[in-house]
Structure formats: C-alpha cells, structure tokens
C-alpha cells in the first residue's frame, strides 16, 4: 500500500471528510487520517441543521459564505446520492427562530436587522411573523409563543448519514481512508511533509489540518495558529412521532423518520462531555412551551458533544506562511459549511492558494493587540 500521497487530510469528521472528498473530486491522491473512537468527534454529536439565519454578525464574509454553502447544498446532496446511493434527507424549507416574549422578539429582530445591514453583507430577506402568522404555518404552538423569525435558506439533514456518505464518496473516488491513525507529529523534509501516525510515516506534498479540537496543538507544528476551544452542546432525543413539524427550528427539529431533537445549548465546560439535567431541563421546558403537546412524548436519550469554537466563533482557513502547503480548516458548523468545503474550499487548497476571498477567515484577525 502506497504511503505517499499528494495531500494528507488529518481528521476524518465532517470537515475533514468534506475537504478530502472535495480534493478527490479534483483528482488529488488523498489520505484521510482518522483518530479513532477515543476522539471527541463533534461530527457524531451534532444537531444536523443547515443554518444561515443569524450568522455573520461581526464578520459579513462569514454570513455570505454560509449563504453560499446553503445554496450549494442541493448539489452536494445530489452528488452524494449519485455516487454513494445515500439519501442524507436534506430538506431546505426555510427555518424558524421562535420567540417566547416580546423582549426576545425585539432583540431578535434588532439583531437580524443589524446583521443584514452590515457593510459587505449579501442581504437576504428574513420574515418576522407574529403569533397568528406563525400558527398558520406551524400548528400546535403554545400560548406563550409570541412570534418567530424565518429565513428561507435554512434547512436540515441527517448528519450521521452525511458523514458516512462523505467517507464512501471519498473512497469511491480512490481516496485512502486510514482509521485509527492518531497523528503524533508533522515534520517538513525537503519540501514534503512527513506525518507520524500510529507508528507509521505518511508522506504528502500538502497537509490539511481538520482535526477539530486537535487542531489547536497540531497547528503549532506547522507554523499555524488555531486556538480553538470546546463548547459543550446537549441534545435531547424524543421518541418518533408522526410528522407534525415541516420546518427546522433553531432549537428543535423533527427528522424525516419522525424523531424530535431538541438542541442548541451552549456551555463552557472544558473537555467534559457529560450530560446534565440543569441544561436538559431548561431545553425541555422551552421545547414544551413552544409545543405543549410534546409534554407527553417520551425522552429516549440525551447526549452531549463538544463544538469546536474559535475565539470569535468564525471559521479559520489559513495556509502556513512558514511551511507553505500546510493548511488549517476549522469551524463549528461542519454540517452547514460542508457543501462550500467540498465545492469551493477544497479546490483552493488543491491549487495551493486560498485566494483573497478566504482572507477574512485568516487567523490573523485574532492577533489584534489588546489596548493597555
């Protein structure tokens, strides 16, 4: 088996899977190194939204990039279906953010108005629905619901099937998926990279770091900066019920198979992946205020997973200045951005140059000196 490749992608989650598949699509010989089940694996714990609404406040290009990803999603879903016969259950009917008080509603509308009014932001229309307008589109909302905001670009999909499909499509295009390969070190010798993984050495002209929380330390080995931290999210899974909700919501969605998921909690808890009722009780209460009839639907399970957060919450895409050919790709929206990663970012990496459009996502923005 060949141990030399054009590109080594380090990290086999949704980000690494998308990049590796995108690189294979443009003809590169790629090794995708995956750590194993001891890894934190944000890709196996996420909520599955393809979400645009509200993203990009403070970095307009991120809002634009997210919109681009949403528009590319049908193409990726089609490609994965054709190449792997996998249906990832993509639906993009638009999504709602539900508000439970007038103050919440006012804050939401002010925040979205500010977002789409930013210089350089590709403005999209969002709708503000009062209680009656929402009830006409979403049956079963409770008496405490004041209204909602709606963005037509939002959607959702099955993230586990997406991960499997990305791996399958990558392998089908000749990619080498290498599991149980925890990367110990990356060295550069005469213009090529040598990756030490599980006692073996893998050579490549380029390396792409897509190791989630592992990027923080791996980046330093190739002259990059990716100070990501874990942010815990908890998810409640209810039993399957007949379809009652045709739209994803920011905190609640019903899958194509009928399961109801409640999510969107955010906690700074270090690397602690445990679930706790302090958070899940709050999530459940809010869900039942939105849909009171969920009160007698059973909880099947709960889980927690760790988001990969940069200091300002935006992606980091960068090529090393001191070790050209080494790239880092990290974000907390591995589902939403997967389509842009496959069709747009991967070809840039293959070309050896991220280009000016990706400049806003450089980690340089994080190096602003603090005023004394």
């Amino acid at each position: 088996m060949s141990r030399d490749y054009d590109i080594a992608v380090i990290g086999g989650g949704l980000v690494g899977g998308a990049i590796a598949y995108g690189l294979a699509r443009v003809g590169r010989r790629v090794a995708l190194l995956d750590e194993g089940d001891v890894a934190y694996r944000a890709s196996r714990g996420n909520f599955g939204l393809v979400w645009v609404q509200g993203k990009g406040l403070g970095l307009a290009p991120y809002g634009n990039w997210t919109q681009r990803a949403a528009r590319l999603w049908p193409d990726l879903a089609r490609a994965l279906r054709e190449e792997t016969d996998t249906d990832i259950s993509l639906e993009q009917p638009g999504g709602f953010h539900v508000c439970l008080s007038d103050a919440e509603m006012d804050n939401r509308v002010a925040s979205l108005t500010k977002l789409v009014g930013q210089a350089g932001f590709e403005r999209y229309a969002f709708e503000v629905l009062d209680r009656a307008a929402l009830a006409a589109r979403v049956p079963g909302i409770g008496p405490e619901v004041v209204g909602a905001t709606y963005c037509a670009l939002d959607g959702h999909l099955n993230p586990l099937r997406l991960l499997r499909a990305l791996h399958a499509a990558f392998i089908k295009r000749g990619g080498a998926y290498l599991p149980m390969q925890k990367v110990e070190g990356i060295a550069r010798r005469s213009g090529r990279f040598v990756v030490d993984a599980a006692g073996e050495q893998i050579g490549a002209a380029q390396v792409v770091l897509t190791a989630g929380l592992g990027n923080a330390t791996l980046a330093l080995q190739v002259g990059l900066h990716a100070p990501v931290r874990p942010q815990r999210g908890q998810i409640i899974v209810l039993e399957r019920v007949q379809r009652f909700l045709d739209y994803p919501m920011s905190t609640l969605r019903q899958t194509d198979e009928g399961t109801v998921l409640i999510g969107d909690s955010q906690e700074e808890a270090g690397f602690d992946e445990s679930v706790g009722t302090a958070i899940t009780a709050t999530q459940a209460l809010r869900a039942t205020r939105i849909f009171p009839r969920l009160l007698d639907v059973r909880v099947n399970r709960t889980w927690a997973a760790l988001r990969v957060m940069s200091p300002d919450g935006f992606p980091i895409y960068e090529q090393s200045a001191t070790q050209p050919g080494a790239f880092v790709v990290t974000c907390h929206s591995g589902v939403t951005l997967a389509s842009a990663h496959v069709f747009d970012l991967a070809p840039r990496i293959a070309a050896g140059e991220l280009g000016p459009e990706m400049k806003p996502f450089s980690a340089e923005r994080l190096n602003v000196q603090k005023a004394a």
């Binding site: 009830a135 006409a136 049956p139 079963g140 039993e239 399957r240 019920v241 007949q242 379809r243 009652f244 198979e257 009928g258 109801v260 849909f291 009839r293 969920l294 639907v297 059973r298």
Partner: protein
C-alpha cells in the same frame, strides 16, 4: 405458537383484559408481552420507518420491540408491565401521534 410449561400451569387466577378490543383471559402475574404471546399475537406493532412487523423478543426491557398501546398510552414496553384486570392492550401501527396537525390548525 407458545405453550406454557406444565409446571407453570396450575394455580394462578385469570385476569380479564382486551386485546384490540377483544376480550382475553390473561394470567395473573404475566406481563403484557407474555399475554400477547399466550394470546397468539406474536406481532404487536409495525416500525415507524420501514413498517416492518415487531413482536416481544427479549422479554426483559432491553430490545424495545414489544412496544404497545396500554390503556391509551402508546409506546409502552409490554414486557415490563404486569397485566391488570380491565387493561386495554392495543397493537400499534407506525409512529405514534404527538398531535393532530389538522386539528390544531383549525
């Protein structure tokens, strides 16, 4: 399909229940799942996704295959619920209803 062991035959008294509305004399001390098997109802539900038939399997609360509607409550594990006099046991088809969207809309 299922027969009681000879040593399990004597003693226990009969408990009247209904299965899909039909009266059945269950055995005191039996679970709902055991009652279904004794009544010759091996399949008590169809799955929400593929519609495949499912019936009591592990009999110890692990497999969730014996989900049935008991006294109007859907998705109860039949193997963990002892029969009681007057209990209404109903087979279920596909996913339960959380609420009727058409009714809520009106």
């Amino acid at each position: 399909m299922f027969k009681r062991l000879p040593e399990a035959q004597p003693g226990s008294s009969s408990v009247p229940v209904t299965i899909d509305g039909r009266p059945f004399a269950a055995r005191d001390g039996d679970s709902v799942a055991a009652t279904l098997l004794a009544a010759g109802v091996p399949a008590c539900r169809t799955t929400p996704v593929s519609g495949a038939l499912r019936g009591p399997f592990c009999m110890m609360g692990v497999c969730f295959d014996c989900l049935v509607t008991i006294d109007g409550q859907p998705n109860k594990q039949g193997c963990l619920v002892p029969v009681r006099a007057g209990m209404r046991i109903e087979r279920q088809s596909g996913a339960r209803i959380a609420f009727d969207a058409a009714q809520e809309r009106s």
